[in-house]
Subunit: 417 residues, 2 copies
């Protein structure tokens, strides 16, 4: 029903007509998750098709049998420089770095970690800082394990350190902070050296405070500049806080998303603690997959060369997102978006109170977007303004069409306010 | 130094001389762990050498990408009859069933499981029953997670159910029992239908009592009789205790020890609870390995056929153990041993107070045996009489030589008493 007030609003009519046309087109497109596309996975086809005839590791280990809890050394050697962790402090494990993060939190809840007075399950409260916008799965695992989340604003250089320093200095219940230090999920931020230094050196009320440094996009560049970040583990160690940092990474977005290898790096004390529990949990990771990966990637330069092939596939998709957004919203107040230099996401910021409506409109038109709020703990974006776009999985043409559709939805939501 | 009392004991002289000869032989042999031999792993060479060119599952899933938390259906279909779990209640996951058991205990500690009043971490005490002799890694993970272990004697038909029933009926802190129902580790017991029925139907003071049914050797027969056990999940369900049972299994001793696939089966409520946590922990198992396994094993008959090849390799090794023991100790009071009809172990029972000494003597002679006591919680066999022998990993000639050496050590320990 058209209300009298609407009669004098041709912009609303246009927006409604465009949306009606969008719905009529009957799309079925998905920009929800940061998944590699089929073409990206094809880059690692050799992992699945090259016979692993010689199944011995460099040190003679039969990779088919039990054992080898720390993971294959030749693979750890490749990723030690990539993840800025000394090889002897780097563990290679299963197919999921999320699993290593979960296990680390769960282990800290159930066994006393270095520097801790109690296991965290026996603490009154356990709180992690959640820079927002952030990665929904970091938050979800904490929620499931009963770890409270307190939000901290992100800046272009990383979390707002004035806020972080004040919080951690004052509250011993704050035991950790989630960090995606390079090409952050979802806003593409690159932590400045100053932010890393402050994280590594700040005073914390909790003696067992930990930085969960999820370097998920260490080599996932979208531009010619292969950005570097500070070596937070070294900085913390120099500052006398060697046990403060857990570094995580994986090849999920390098080789095969579901069949890659994950990594955990930390101080010797942390690694010993972690392995002491892991040794009761598992008889070791799948070393055949480690060996396949080591042979396929060869060395850190091999990783870089491989990532350039990914960039060739996904850079045009990010360019399509940028193109649609800048053509449609360059002059729209309240609408802005990140221009990531790497990683897997674009953050679209819309006027307060419209994100949920935009995602709903898109869904009705057959375009799946990550639910509004998923970039925040408990799924609640208090300003309802953050939308995460993930353009890697669909083919380029679909990204373009989906983004044109998103633009229609944004415009309708704005004029309908 | 020969004491006067020894002068009249030529048996002691003989035993000492035999042991001196054994040491002089400078052996380096290992009967410690239940690991498949290289020849057994070779049986699954195709898993590593056949190209996985078509990486699509039967339902079209791209096995290379994220997702698929329950595991590949075609693989679950193969193992549903093997593990006696309806396919929709069977999860296929990573390379380690131990990991699934650990996660299940850890999850129960950290989140409220079906039927539980609290998460176990908030209980005063959490106790599991440990039938002894039993599997050291079951016990070790409980010890690490703060779960107390109370021993229950094993019989040839499974745990002594009179003892079990009395304990679980009287103490709500008793939350679980470890069971290896077929070809039990280490004594080779096969649970009788009656034992399974009593486990499934008994009254427990804890509403959230669980049977950890580690069917590790479901198809690992050593004789022509492929023994069957009762379907404990069905029995419990019929008795109104559907949530009582967690079934575990893996292909570690079917395909590749370090690169196989593990399984968890349970009631729908338990599976939903387990997946709700697993979905926060992981983005899914390595489905490429699931697909390789499904294509390699084909169906439950394919599994059986494959296991007959294992039997050809390992049955002679078990025969060698039996041969040495029966030749040396058929008439020795206090010495007995299991005659397993499947599985990976022989339990050698020696006179009280001699197991540790025998293991020590063997070690000094270059023969590694599993530490005495490892078949019991906290590494303490109160009678010091149980030695677990694992003959699968060494080649046949080594098994024979190692067992001849073990016989020398047993004899010396006995005459030295």
């Amino acid at each position: 029903m058209t209300s009298p007030a609407d009669l004098a609003r041709p912009d609303l009519d246009d927006a409604r007509q465009a949306y009606a046309d969008l719905k009529a087109a009957g799309m079925s497109l998905d920009l929800t998750r940061g998944k590699p596309s089929s073409a990206q996975l094809d880059l690692a086809a050799a992992l699945l098709t090259e016979p692993l005839t010689d199944h011995r590791a460099a040190d003679g280990t039969d990779t088919r049998n039990y054992g080898g809890l720390t993971g294959l050394k030749e693979l750890r050697e490749i990723f030690a420089p990539v993840l800025q962790v000394p090889v002897d402090q780097l563990i290679a494990f299963g197919n999921s770095s999320l699993e290593l993060m979960y296990e680390t939190v769960a282990q800290a809840l159930l066994t006393v970690m270095p520097g801790a007075a109690h296991r965290w399950a026996d603490e009154e409260r356990v709180v992690f800082l959640a820079p927002v916008p952030g990665y929904d799965r970091h938050f979800a695992l904490c929620e499931k394990l009963g770890v409270e989340l307190v939000t901290v604003p992100m800046t272009a250089d990383g979390p707002d350190m004035d806020v972080v320093e004040q919080l951690v200095a004052g509250d011993p219940a704050i035991k950790g902070i989630w960090c995606v230090p390079k090409y952050s999920n979802p806003d593409g931020a690159i932590y400045s050296d100053e932010v890393s230094r402050r994280l590594a050196t700040m005073s914390t009320a909790a003696p067992d405070f930990r930085i969960f440094w999820d370097n998920a996009y260490a080599v996932h560049h979208l531009t010619d500049t292969e950005h570097e970040i500070a070596d937070v583990l070294a900085l913390a160690t120099e500052a006398g806080h060697a046990d403060r940092v857990f570094v995580f990474g994986s090849t999920s977005k390098i080789t095969l998303a579901g069949a890659g290898v994950s990594f955990l790096g930390a101080s010797q004390a942390n690694v010993a603690w972690w392995l002491a529990v892991a040794g009761k949990r598992s008889i070791g990771p799948d070393k055949t997959n480690h060996l396949r990966h080591a042979r396929f990637l060869r060395d850190a330069d091999g990783v870089k060369a491989h990532m350039r092939k990914h960039r060739e596939i996904i850079e045009p998709k990010f360019a399509a997102v940028e193109d649609v957004l800048s053509r449609n919203f360059a002059d729209t107040p309240g609408v802005s978006w990140s221009q990531p230099r790497g990683g897997y996401f674009v953050t679209l910021t819309v006027p307060d109170g419209t994100a949920t409506e935009i995602v709903r409109l898109a869904k009705e038109a057959g375009i799946a977007l990550t639910p509004a709020g998923s970039t925040h703990p408990y799924g609640e974006d208090p300003e309802d303004r953050t939308i995460r776009l993930a353009p890697t999985f669909p083919v380029l043409d679909e990204v373009q069409r989906a983004m044109e559709g998103v633009a229609v939805c944004v415009k309708l939501a704005l004029v309908q306010r």
